[in-house]
Amino acid sequence: MQFQRYGSCVALVALDDLPHEAGKMRELTDFQLVQSEGGSTSTLAFSGPMTVSSLGLADARLRAISDSFSEIDLTGVTRMDTVGAWTVWRLSRDHDARIIGCSDEAQKLVDAISKADSNDHSVRAMRLPLFQRVPEHVGDVMLGLGRGMLQVVGFLGQIILSSASLLRHPSRFRGKALVHQMELVGVNSLAIIGLMSFLVGIVIAQQGAVQLRQFGAEIYTVNLVGRLTLRELGVLMTAIMVAGRSGSAFAAQLGTMKLTEEVDAMRTIGVAPMEALVIPRIAATMIMMPLLGFYSAFLGIIGGAFLSSLTLGIPFFTFLTRIQEVVPLHDVWVGLTKAPVFGLIVALAGCYQGMQVKNNAEEVGARTTAAVVMAIFTVIVLDAFFAVFFTNIGWG
């Protein structure tokens, strides 16, 4: 008899390099290939436990066996589970070997496993090879962009239709939901928007003063702060903040409701998700945006006045009085006109992306990101458009 050892000599191996197991000992599967004298038949003899916890390290060596064997001896096996049974079954299938020394329980397991042998159906979802996947993905993205634009327009159309039907049946309007959303979008964001605007007002005044001082025109800091916050920054920063706070929340809420089939349930009960979910959110954002934008501009001016009184020697109330004189009223109208439009865009992006969620939790994350990106991008593009537009109509 000649022995060929594949298994390790000691079946107990320290498992320091495995997580959860540092310092612990685990009994491992051991095996050896025994060849008979003539070399005609050989036997693969297992010993120790053959379980999911003991087979992992032996598996690679088992797969590396190139010699043929005609018997698998399980006499020395102390414990067996389905992973052990699978290993035995696979070896006997691949090497056309007979199983001997098998206990009744082990035999039962091997029988059960042999029935569950599939012809290597893939574990992963279907995936094309890389050179096909990349162009396909690019195509998908491009088509998706085009289709997305159309769908957003369609979504907007649905909103307008629903709003019109709500106008005809005002009793269906969900006042409570509207007020609740106004609180979430508006009232709850007062602190963060206020702080942000105040600080930005300080920064504008400070940096403006440094530049204007070179011409001895420090007093124009008032114009700078007043016109910038009321006309541009107040509304723009608020829109970005609301997109981050509420637009993302809309997408995540509606997306999760889609996943748990709450939206479908609503439809079947006869509640239109458009009326119950989308319209209150959009209306709340459109109502709150002008208020928040004005509030933001106001606090920006306070910030500027605060800094001027500290470092520029312009008293606080003088600053505010000057604001009245130097800021044309149409600057306020410019800001207030843009605000509901931005609000519509932010809420539309959030609700649209949320309603597009399907299949899985990852989609909720992706759609939430898309909602925020889409909202901020569109708001900034539109803001540039508005800047040119208002200047051209003489509100420069």
Binding site: P19, V52, G56, T82, V83, A112, H121, R124
Partner: protein, 296 residues
């Protein structure tokens, strides 16, 4: 009512050292949400190798009991011992070992929605036995999926592409991933069609017999109770009021138990069981083997 106070079978004063006979032991369990007491002084023993059915009205705390046993819910008082380890004071690192020895099928399946069915099965394998090679892990996932009664094509499908029954089977495959000794099933046949439910029952029975599992099975399904449960535990009045075989329970005089097993549905299930047994008896009288429970 008084005679129901003493359950027919609660082992008195178990020896303290864990002797392996009771994979699950619950003593004096008390669970409270706010001021809503769910369990109060609940005791339960699950024997090794049995299928224990757990019944009780909706909202009596069956799911909460299961969550407490597997350590997801910290009880206000009482002791839970699973496989010889005390769950109630287990620290996170200490109970990792025990987590590889049980499998749980949640009421809704709770599959990971971004992974395919087979990848779902691979998650616990990857987590506990990272030394297992990719090849072996894929093979294990495949045969577990087939063993759970799903077709081979299902391995590469996402949970959103499966029907309710298939999701349950996929959840079962994941629960069985680590060859656990203990299997927790929360209403596995709820929402399945009768044929699907019966097949699922037989699947659980077959797996239990082949893999020598101990099964903690929450169910509302009377057919399941009659078909596969060795014993049934009844939860009512914040306690396990009785544990025993169905005939033993039927002998008790508790109104809820009588209503449950002798109500119209309970009767129907009893009759079905009687017919089933009669058919089996005649078949074996004819010298034929009893019908294959799987049908096909």
């Amino acid at each position: 009512m008084d005679q129901t106070a003493a359950p027919p079978e609660i082992v008195p004063d178990l020896p303290d050292p864990f002797d392996g006979k009771y994979p699950i032991r619950v003593r004096g369990l008390r669970n409270v949400f706010g001021d809503h007491v769910i369990h109060d002084g609940l005791d339960l023993d699950v024997r090794r190798g049995e299928i224990l059915g757990v019944v009780g009205g909706s909202g009596t705390g069956k799911s909460v009991l299961m969550r407490t046993i597997i350590g997801l819910q910290i009880p206000e008082a009482g002791e839970v011992e699973v496989l010889g380890d005390t769950i109630t004071d287990a620290r996170d690192d200490a109970d990792i070992d025990i987590r590889s020895r049980w499998g749980v099928l949640f009421q809704g399946g709770a599959l990971f929605s971004t992974l395919t069915v087979a990848e779902n099965v691979e998650v616990p394998l990857r987590e506990f036995y990272p030394e297992i090679s990719d090849d072996l892990r894929h093979e294990i996932a495949r045969y577990k999926v087939l063993l759970s009664g799903l077709p081979a094509e299902a391995t590469s499908k996402f949970p959103s592409e499966l029907s309710g029954g298939m999701k349950k089977r996929a959840g079962l495959a994941r629960a069985l991933a680590l060859d656990p000794e203990l299997l927790f099933l929360d209403e596995p046949t709820a929402g399945l069609d009768p044929i699907g439910a019966a097949a699922f029952d037989q699947l659980i029975l077959k797996l239990q017999q082949t893999l020598d599992l101990t099964v903690f099975l929450i169910t509302h399904d009377l057919d399941t109770l009659y078909e596969i449960c060795d014993r049934v535990a009844v939860i009512a009045d914040k306690k396990v009021i009785a544990v025993g075989t169905i005939p033993e329970l039927l002998a008790l005089d508790h109104p809820w138990i009588q209503e449950y097993f002798n109500g119209p549905r309970g009767r129907a299930a009893q009759d079905a069981q009687a017919r089933h047994d009669a058919v089996r008896a005649t078949l074996s009288d004819d010298g034929r083997s009893s019908p294959d429970p799987d049908g096909a």
